[in-house]
């Protein structure tokens, strides 16, 4: 049986409990669920919010393709990813990745791998809104993130 990932791009907030319920459903052979939640940091008081722009259509399609690869690679029982767009205040959730598997390491690896992908290869762009000013600026891509993704190819 092929396991289909659950992928959503939305402006609304989400509940991890509700999403994990969706992910695991009635499957009785899941022993491990790992979730990653990305949250808007204040960066030492510098920021008031992030603004997320995305490429509608392509974002969902690319995430789905990559999620299917992750399911196959780590033999996951399920993979769910939700990425928000629009203005996201400090302390609010930006992204959720949840991976389900029989044993724990696959769920850790699946969620970690998908996050590395999202950071570098999913068509989303972040803009920072400064606290106490009208200033905003686009976040540059981090070399560290490209490096994080490349670690997985060593294992192939």
């Amino acid at each position: 049986m092929t396991i289909e990932p659950i992928i959503r791009v939305q402006s609304d907030e989400f509940s991890v409990d509700e999403e994990v319920k969706q992910l695991t459903g009635e499957k009785a052979d899941i022993g491990a669920v790992v979730t990653f939640t990305g949250i808007c940091r204040e960066e030492g008081g510098r920021l008031s919010a992030l603004e997320l722009e995305h490429y509608p259509g392509m974002a969902e399609a690319e995430m789905t393709v990559f999620a299917k690869q992750a399911i196959e690679r780590f033999n996951l029982q399920g993979l769910l990813a939700i990425h928000r767009y629009g203005k996201i205040d400090v302390g609010k959730q930006i992204v959720l990745v949840a991976a389900a598997s029989r044993h724990r390491q696959a769920a850790f690896d699946g969620a970690n791998y998908f996050m590395d992908y999202l950071k570098t290869n999913a068509p989303f762009w972040k803009k920072e809104h400064a606290k106490n000013s009208e200033q905003s600026n686009w976040v540059s891509a981090r070399d560290a993130d490209d490096h994080a993704l490349s670690k997985w190819s060593k294992l192939d």
């Binding site: 997320l52 722009e53 995305h54 490429y55 950071k119 068509p123 762009w125 891509a141």
Partner: protein, 84 residues
């Protein structure tokens, strides 16, 4: 042909999407960059950063600048992605 722009390209060009008629000598991604850079001063100032600008054709990433534009309905131009 539809061109779409994201993030700082969209803001700098003050344009989210536009429809263009490409000249017949614009055959691949590299040609497109050259053509865009010559449109006017604003485009020239944006496309002098061509080396970091990324491309998707029909919503699929394209790395190779020699990729043909044949069959392209929608070409997206954007900076490196910073999601997650």
């Amino acid at each position: 042909m539809k061109l779409v722009y994201f993030a700082w390209l969209r803001e700098r060009l003050n344009c989210g999407e536009e429809t263009v008629e490409l000249p017949s000598n614009v055959a691949n991604v590299s040609d497109l960059f050259t053509w865009l850079a010559k449109r006017d001063e604003l485009f020239a100032s944006v496309f002098e950063h061509a080396d970091i600008i990324q491309v998707a054709i029909n919503q699929k990433h394209v790395q190779d600048r020699s990729t043909s534009l044949e069959g392209a309905n929608e070409i997206a131009l954007f900076p490196p992605m910073t999601g997650g």
